[in-house]
């Protein structure tokens, strides 16, 4: 097999998005509509929800029932966690992280948002931009979602009024200016009637922009990955030690960002040792160049002591290697932060002991105001200082979403208690 010269991202075929909003905003109806109109609902699912709609004494088909998951939720008529849905059009495959919009569920939205390329924020046209919408926008910007769609829903209940839509756009834009959100699109729609979701409908002729599905199919996600900085955290060292491969030593992992070419000079962090790339190997055979997010095996020219947790970077492009850094932390656990305790941090492929040495402030997610605090409770978001026992290779989250993040683990319960995003170094 001939070596693949270079892979292009021209047809990136997988888009992950989240929907933020409450049941009242018509979120479940919107997801149901997307699945239904893109013909991703199966007959047995439709039969099942038709029966349930009748059982509950209602008429027709309640598309919101499609996203009902667990028994507890069906009994209580609520959504308690992140659920994943899948659909495809001829252009793209989509993964929806369906997150509930209640006040206490910051943690679910952050979880769902962490892997998303795009967020849809639902706004009820009758109610306009609410505290909740601002919270969703803030969380989307905190987690660094590259694309945002503001879906102004229930336009049928405001007579499909253009001035109502424009007022909401202005209000949202005024608020979003203060956040790190660049790519925002606004769409008026009625998920209930299907206007501007998959079909344009005939009620919103004053609106010239894309339907939601057009936008989802065509938004360019090529630059959502950092293509500049080569980062290769070593996951696994392959040493078959067979007769034919006696000296083979392959470093296995996924390229988190950037690209690498055979012959490139590399530096191993945190040790600082240097070498050159000898081979880039796929199961199918050797290749000359590989790019994020490919999983590959690398071999190097020299015998160096490299193990899991080390990061290969290009020589001369060395990031920060440090035992102290600042971060935004989202506390996820019912057990509050104990500043006196040691926690574990997992970042890339490295696990280290850590203490949260400082809490600078907590953010009120409704007003963005900073508040003083000496502990963190579930759903709190705060700016903190951390100290770790072993040095970490630190990228700023804003520059590199895949290596700038970490999770915090409680050593005694083994639970994941917080999510962290590394802040730029102090000048």
């Amino acid at each position: 097999m001939s070596a693949i010269e270079k892979i292009s991202f021209d047809q990136t075929g997988l888009l992950r998005f989240i929907t933020a909003g409450s049941v009242d905003d018509g979120k479940s109806t919107l997801i149901g509509r997307l699945l239904h109109d893109s013909k991703s609902i199966f007959e047995d699912q439709l039969t099942s929800i038709t029966n349930t709609t009748r059982k509950r004494g209602m008429q027709g088909v309640d598309l919101s029932l499609l996203t009902d998951g667990l028994q507890a939720e069906r009994e209580q008529g609520i959504t308690i966690d992140v659920a994943y849905r899948y659909f495809a059009t001829p252009k793209r495959k989509f993964i929806i992280a369906d997150t509930p919009g209640h006040e206490q569920y910051t943690r679910n939205m952050v979880t769902g948002a962490s892997t998303a390329n795009l967020a849809i924020i639902l706004i009820d046209a009758r109610k306009g931009v609410l505290t909740q919408s601002r919270r969703h926008a803030y969380l989307a910007s905190l987690v660094g979602i590259p694309h945002l769609v503001v879906a102004v829903n229930k336009m049928d209940l405001v007579d499909y009024s253009q001035p109502v839509f424009e007022k909401i756009c202005q209000d949202f834009a005024a608020f979003a200016e203060k956040l790190n959100l660049r790519n925002i699109e606004y769409i008026p729609m009625s998920a209930l009637n299907g206007d501007m979701v998959v079909e344009r409908g005939d009620q919103l002729n004053w609106y010239q922009g894309s339907t939601l599905i057009d936008l989802l199919e065509n938004v360019s996600i090529e630059d959502d990955i950092n293509h500049e900085d080569f980062r290769f955290p070593v996951q696994w060292v392959c040493r078959p030690q067979t007769k034919e491969l006696h000296d083979f030593r392959g470093y296995m992992g996924r390229i988190e960002s950037g690209s690498i070419h055979v012959g490139d000079n590399i530096t191993v962090l945190p040790s600082g040792l240097t070498s050159r790339i000898k081979e880039i190997i796929l199961y199918e055979g050797p290749i000359n160049e590989a790019i994020a997010p490919q999983s590959v095996t690398l071999t190097i020219e020299d015998h160096l002591d490299i193990s899991r947790g080390d990061v290969l970077v290009k020589t001369g492009e060395t990031p920060r290697v440090t035992k102290a850094f600042d971060a935004m932390l989202c506390w996820l656990s019912e057990q509050p932060l104990d500043p006196n305790r040691k926690y574990l941090i997992k970042q890339s492929t490295r696990m280290v002991k850590a203490v949260i040495s400082r809490i600078d402030y907590r953010v009120d997610v409704n007003t963005m105001a900073h508040e003083a605090t000496n502990t963190l409770k579930m759903n709190d978001i705060a700016h903190v200082g951390l100290k770790v026992q072993q040095p970490l290779v630190c990228d700023d989250y804003a520059r590199n979403r895949s290596t700038g993040c970490f999770i915090v683990i409680d050593e005694s319960s083994n639970n994941t208690v917080a999510a962290g995003m590394i802040s730029p170094a102090e000048e």
Partner: protein, 301 residues
């Protein structure tokens, strides 16, 4: 030279390889569950991509209901031989003999009881992670499943008490006796699996392809006639052209009418199909809205 695009299958594949390597590196004693079905066939190819030229850093295991289609068992053994990896088989018959499983009748579906044999095997070998081929699109209880799904020391899944899973940083830590079920192809759909089988030119058991089979109509589906399923009064045995979309317990896995005789035709059929995989093929999932959720809570995969 034209550059091949990085397709959705490439993205899903790279994610799955990354997950498998995390398990190998961080779990003390993992195992990969291989049934001979299409999803676990895909897992084996992903394991080859993750670890070759090395050996797999875990054994394979099959929980045998002894209600399996003979073609599938034959295929399972053939595939393991080609790979040169180690296969552990634990049989439900042993659990029945030990009195761990009590069946109402010999021919009753054994799907639900697999959990007992699986949990016994986990205890026997002290496995702390089981890699499986479950997908989130299969069933609504699965839609809320994590990629690393934590089980307590009774093997139970508590949907309200799952670890949040952020980015692709996986928390693999367990206390002794607990274990994690890992699903590298969580984000794949039935169609993705078939497209991958086509792309990788993977072999699958021949009962996935259209063939003539004796069946009876029962409830809303077809059931294959075998030593476990015989026509009851009022039921008529028919010869039909069918194929299986899943391969499970012979007493409750229903074939669908189909002419799809090769992988390409299955892809075309899957892209057009209007009924979910489990809705069409599993009688045990149709008993209530929450069947899968209840079985999962008890330790089912």
């Amino acid at each position: 030279m034209n550059n091949p695009p990085f397709t959705h299958l490439d993205a899903l594949e790279s994610e799955a390889i990354h997950i498998m390597r995390e398990v190998a590196a961080e779990c003390a004693n993992p195992v990969l569950l291989f049934s001979g079905g299409k999803d676990s066939i895909v897992l084996l190819r992903l394991a080859e991509k993750a670890f070759r030229p090395g050996r797999f850093p875990f054994p394979l295991m099959h929980i045998d209901t002894e209600h399996n289609f003979p073609e599938v068992i034959e295929f399972r053994d053939q595939r393991v031989k080609e790979l040169g990896e180690r296969l552990i088989v634990r049989s439900m018959e042993d659990s029945i003999k030990k009195g761990r499983v009590v069946l109402r009748s010999e021919n009753q579906s054994r799907n639900a009881f697999q959990s007992v044999t699986l949990l016994d095997a986990i205890a026997e070998f002290k496995f702390d992670a089981c890699i499986g081929g479950a997908r989130r699109d299969e069933e609504k209880a699965r839609a809320k499943e994590r990629i690393f799904s934590f089980r307590d020391e009774f093997g139970q899944w508590d949907p309200k008490n799952q670890r949040p899973e952020l980015w692709d940083i996986y928390n693999t830590r367990t206390h002794p006796g607990e274990n994690i079920r890992v699903f590298p192809i969580s984000n794949w759909t039935e169609l993705d699996v078939w497209e991958y089988i086509a792309r990788e030119k993977l072999e699958v058991p021949r009962i996935y392809f259209a063939h003539q089979r004796a069946v009876i109509r029962r409830a809303a589906g077809l059931l294959p006639v075998s030593h476990l399923v015989q026509p009851q009064e009022g039921e008529k045995m028919e010869q039909m052209i069918v194929r299986f979309r899943t391969v499970g317990d012979m007493s409750c896995t229903c074939p669908v009418e189909s002419d799809a005789a090769n992988v390409e035709e299955i892809i075309a059929e899957t892209a057009m199909t209007r009924i979910t995989e489990r809705g069409a093929t599993r009688m045990d999932d149709q008993t209530s809205d929450a069947s899968m959720e209840l079985r999962k809570k008890e330790g089912y995969f």
